[in-house]
Symmetry: D3
C-alpha cells in the first residue's frame, strides 16, 4: 500500500557516517533512505550575551537545505536575504530538542552550534537533522572530555526524532516524500531514550484526527526511535 | 497551587467583543483573562499566484505583538526589518488551523487574511489568536453570504485553541504568563468541534513527559475548547 | 458642506480612555471621531549611546498602523521588512513634538518611548498620536514622580496636534478621511499650551495657498488644540 | 551677528551650472554658498503601475548625500542596506514640490526622476535640491518639446525652496550649517512664482515660536525665493 | 619547502565522484586534496527576463560555504541576511567561466544553474568549484541531449581553474590553506582546453610581482589545468 | 579603427582637480575622458575591531555610481537595500590596491576610507577610482604629516590602474564605453610605480585569449600607468 512497499511500521534504512568533515569538533552524514543530512557540531568558547556570568553553556541549531536537495531547485535563502518561516521553525526545534538532554552547568561557559545541512531530501529532513545532530554533539563532547575541558558528561540521554503520519487512512512510520505530500496527518516526534517525550508536533493536513490516532502515531514513533537510538549508539562507540 | 488560585481544569474568563473595528469585514477583540488580541478578517478578491485558475480561495494568518503588550517593551519587528522565528511560526499555525475548517472551493477565488494583533499579553496569545480569528472569519463569511457573493457556507466547523501544561507536576488548563514561564511542559492544542484534533504542539521545557502526560493535557484541552466553542457561538449569533 | 455636516471650525468628538493596557507605565486609547490610536509610554532605565554621561534623558516615538485600520488592508511593514517613508516621517514628528515640552535634565538618564499604534483610521492619525502620546507620557511621568524616581516635573507644558485643510475652497478644522483625500491643502499643526507653535507642516495638494490661507488654518488649529488641551487635562487629573 | 557676517535677509550667492553631466536629459550643479547639489532629470517612457492607462505622467525625486559631503564621514546608506528616515522624508518633499507645478496630462505617459545628490553640505541641502531639480526638469522638458514628444508645456510655474530660521532671537534667511545647528526654529518653505505656497515645514528646535514669528520667516522666504527664481530663469534661458 | 612537502609544480590529488545527489540533472563531489565541493547543475525551462525572445539560454553560478567548512565556524549568510562581497565575486566568476565555453543558441531557451557548495575548505574552493561545475554541466547537457531536448552539443570546450601563488619567493601550483594564508601573491587562472585563457585574477598580497612572475604562474596553471582536464574527461565518459 | 579615433596605445586625456570638496582631508575629481569620479579620503581615529591593539592602521575603499552617471538611469543601491555584486567587487579591489602601497605601522591606529563616487561613466570607472583614490590618499596623508600626527610617510609608492582590452582583434589601451561593451577581452591592471604588478583581472568576453595576448595587454597597461603616475605627481605637488 505504501509507495515504497514498506510495512506500516517499517523504517527506511539508517546509516550514520561519522567524521564526514575534518574541521568540526563532531560531524556525521546521516542517511534515512534517500534523505541525507550533514550534521556538524562546532564548539565556541563564548556564550550568548544573556547567559554571561551564569556559569552555563548553550546549545543551538541551524538548518538549511542546499538549493538542489529537492526535486526542483529552490532559491538560496542567502540570496533572497532571509530565512523562511519553515527554516526558522526547524532551527528552533533542533535547538530545543538537543537542549532537552544537555546539562548546561556541566557544559560550562561554551556554546555548541549544531549545523544541519540537507544534502538530499526525501521527506523527514528535520527529524533526520535532530537524530544526526545528537551524534555530532556526542562526538564533540567526547572530544572536549578527552581534552579535559569538561570533566562530567553534560549529555544526559540520547534524543532522536521521527515522522509518522496517517497515509490513506493507515498510520505509518517514517514518511518519505511521496507519502508526506499526500498524507492526511503528519506528526514529528522527538523522543528521549527510555520513552519520555521531548516534543510532539502533529498537524492535520487533509483530514483531522482523534486521540486514538495521536496515540497510534506516538507508538509508531517509539518503534522508530528505538531503531535510531541503536544506530546512534553504534556510530559513537 | 496555581499563582492565580484557579483549579487545574479552570479556564480564565473569556469575552469576545465583535465589531471592534469598523473597516474589516469581520473583527473581534478576544480577551482570555488579561490576554487581549484584536482579530480582523479582511476579504480580498484576489488569490496567491500559485492558486490561480483552480476555482479555490485561500485563508491565511498574520500575527504581531504590539511593542508594549508585554511586561517590558519589545522592539518593533518593522523597525528591526524582519519578523522573528516565533512570529512566523505562529502565523503559519494560525493559517493552518483556520484552513482546517474551510472548504476552499465554496469560498471561491478570494483570500481572507486573519490579522491577529496582541494588544496585551498574559500567556496564550497564539491560542487566543486562533479562537478569535475563527470569530472574525465567521463574521466576514456571514457578510459575504448576506451579500450573495457566496452561496454555500465554506466554514465546515468551529476551530478553537488552548494551551495546557505541566506546572509543578500537575497538568493544568490555560496557562497564564507566570505559569507559562515556569512550566515543565507547554502544549498548544488546536481542536475542532466534535473532538477532532487539528494540531498538537507539545514541548518539554524543564522536564520531559510521557504518553500518559500527553493524554491528560489533551483531555484538559477538550474541556477548555468546549468553553471556547460556546463563547464563539454566542458571539456570532 | 462638509461630508460629515460639521461646521468649518467644528472638531470631531474626542475621548481619551486612560489605562487601556496594564503593562505600560502610561497608556491611553484616544478617539478623534472614528480615528482611534493606542498610545503607550514605556520607561527604560537606559539611554541612546550618544547621550551617555550627560545626565540627560530622551523621549522618542514610534508609529504603526494595524494592517486593517484602513478601508482596504495594507501590508504589514514587519512582513515587508521595512518601514515606509511615511511611517518614519510620522515617528520623527511624534518624537520632536513631545521633546519640545520636556526638560531632559529633569527627566534624568532614562528613555521614554511613545508607541502610537493606530487601531482604526479615519484621517488625522498622526495628530491624534501626538495628542494621545502626551497623555501617556504624563501618566508615566506621574508614576515616576510618585515612586520618587524623579523629583522635579520634567514636563513643562501640554502639547497637542490637529490637522486643518482647505476643503472645496473653505478652511476647515480636523479633516476626516473623506475630506483629507479631497482637500486642496492639508496642514498639521503641533501647538503648545499658551499659543506657541512647535511645528507646522502645510502642504498644497490640488491647489497652492497663500499667506492669508496659512494664517486662517493656524487660527483654526488654535481652536482645535484648545479643545484637546482640555480633554488631556481631564483625562490626566 | 550671523557667523558669516551676512545681513538677516541676505542669501548666500547662488550659482547654477547647467549640463554638468552629459547623459541625463537635464542636469545642473547648484551651489548655494558651500552647499553643492548635483541635480539630474531622467526621462523614462514608463510610469508606475497605479497610473497605467490614465494618460498621465509622473514626477518623482530621489536624494542622497555623498558619505563625505559633511564635516565627518557618514556611512553609506547602500552599505547600511536602508535609507534613513531623513532621506525618505526629503525625497518625498522633492517629489511633492515639483509635482505641484507640473500638469501630468500634458507630460503624457512618462516618468521623470529627479536625482539630487549632495556633493558638499553646508546647510539647506533639501531646499537647494528642490531649486536645482526645477532647473533639471525644465531642461529635460525643453528637450522633450524640442524632439516633438511633448506639444504643450507641462511646467506651469517655477518652484523654489529656501530655509529660514530664528537664530539668536532674530529671523534670518538661508541658514548655513553653523546657524542651522544652533537655531531656535528652522523652517523650510517651498514657494511658487507669484507668491503662492507649496509647502511649509517649520519646526521649533530650542524654543517655540508664535504666529508673528512664522509670518516673518515666510516673508524672508519670499525674498529668498525671488532671488532663486531669477537664477533659475537665467540658467535655463 | 611547501608545508605539504609537495614539489612546486605538484597538484594535490583530484577525485571527482559523479551522481553524488539524485535530484540534480548533473552533480559531482570534487575533491582537491582536503577541499571538497558539491557541484550540481539544475536545468530550468525558463530564462532571465532580459533574454526572452532571443532564442538563447543562460548559464549561471551560485556559491556558498557551509558554516563549518572552515577551521572556525563562519556565520551563515542566510542568517546574516546577505551574501558577502567575496561570495558574490566568486559566483560571478563561476558563471562567467562556464559561459565562456557554452554556445547559448545551441542551449536553447533554458537556464542551467551551477550550485557550488563547499563541504570542506582547504584553499582553492573557487577554482575547485569551476572545475567541478563543468562536470555537473556536462552531465546535465548529456541528459538533455539523450532526451532529445538539445540536438547540437552546446558545450564547445572544457574549462578548468587552478590557483597558483608565490610562496616564500617560489612560484607554486595549487595552494592549500596554509600556503594561501601566507603567500606573497595569489592568482586564480581559468583556462580552456587547448591553452586559451578565460580569466586571470592575480593579486599581490605581501609583495608585488612583475611580468616574469605572472608568466611563471600562468605556466604552472597550464600544468595544473591539464591534469584537471584529464580528471574531468575520465569522470564524464 | 577605434570608435574614438584614438591610436591603440593612446589614452584619453586625464585631468585631476584636487580639493574638489572642502570637508574631506583629501579629495579630487579625476576625469579620464568622459569618465569622472569624485574621490575623497576621510581620516578617522578609529580602526576595525580585529585590528585593535596592533599599532596598525587600515585603508579601505567604497564605490558607488550616481543613478544617472550612465546612459540609462540605474536604480539607487540605497533604495534597493543592497549593494550589487559588481559594486562590492570594485570596493574590495580599491581597498586592496591602495593597501598595497601603504605601510600600516607608519599610518598608526587610524583608518582612511577612500570614497569613489562616479559622477559620469564612460568606461573604466573602477580604474579611474583607484588612480584618483591615490591622489586623495596622498593629500590626506600630507595633511596628517603637516599636523604632526604622522612622522614617517606611510605611502611607499604610487599606484594607478588602467583597463586594456582586445577590440576587434587588436589590443588597445584605456577602453571607453563603446569599446568596453564590444571587446573580446577586458583586463584591468593595477600597477605600482617602477613596474611591479599589484593586481591583474583579465576576462575573456567574446573570445578567449592566450599568453601572448595577456602580455601585450600588460605592456599597454604599463604605458598607460606611466601617464597616470605623471598626472598624479603633478596634481599632488
Amino acid at each position: 500500500m505504501r509507495p515504497s512497499g514498506r510495512a506500516p511500521d517499517e523504517m527506511r534504512p539508517i546509516t550514520i557516517e561519522t567524521g564526514f568533515t575534518k574541521h568540526a569538533e563532531g560531524s556525521c552524514l546521516i542517511s534515512c533512505g534517500d534523505t541525507r543530512v550533514l550534521c556538524t557540531a562546532s564548539v565556541e568558547e563564548r556564550i550568548p550575551p544573556w547567559l554571561r556570568g551564569k556559569g552555563e553553556g548553550w546549545v543551538t541549531g541551524e538548518y538549511s537545505m542546499l538549493p538542489r536537495a529537492t526535486h526542483t531547485r529552490g532559491s538560496r535563502e542567502a540570496a533572497r536575504g532571509k530565512q523562511s518561516g519553515r527554516t526558522q521553525e526547524i532551527q528552533r526545534l533542533i535547538g530545543r530538542s538537543l537542549r532537552a538532554v544537555v546539562d548546561m552547568k556541566k557544559l560550562g561557559e561554551r556554546q555548541i552550534t549544531l549545523d544541519c545541512d540537507v544534502i538530499q531530501a526525501d521527506g523527514g529532513t528535520r527529524t533526520a537533522s535532530i537524530s544526526g545532530a545528537w551524534v555530532a554533539l556526542r562526538l564533540a563532547v567526547n572530544s572536549l572530555m578527552k581534552d579535559g575541558l569538561i570533566t562530567h558528561d553534560p549529555i544526559e540521554k540520547q534524543v532522536a526524532a521521527i515522522s509518522c503520519g496517517i497515509y490513506k487512512g493507515t498510520p505509518v512510520l517514517d514518511l518519505d516524500y511521496p507519502e508526506d505530500s499526500d498524507a492526511d496527518a503528519d506528526a514529528n516526534f522527538v523522543l528521549i531514550e527510555g520513552g519520555q517525550i521531548a516534543e510532539v508536533q502533529a498537524t492535520a493536513e487533509g483530514a483531522t484526527y482523534d486521540e486514538e490516532g495521536l496515540l497510534r502515531l506516538l507508538r509508531l514513533a517509539k518503534i522508530g526511535c528505538d531503531g535510531i537510538f541503536e544506530a546512534q549508539m553504534k556510530a559513537t562507540q
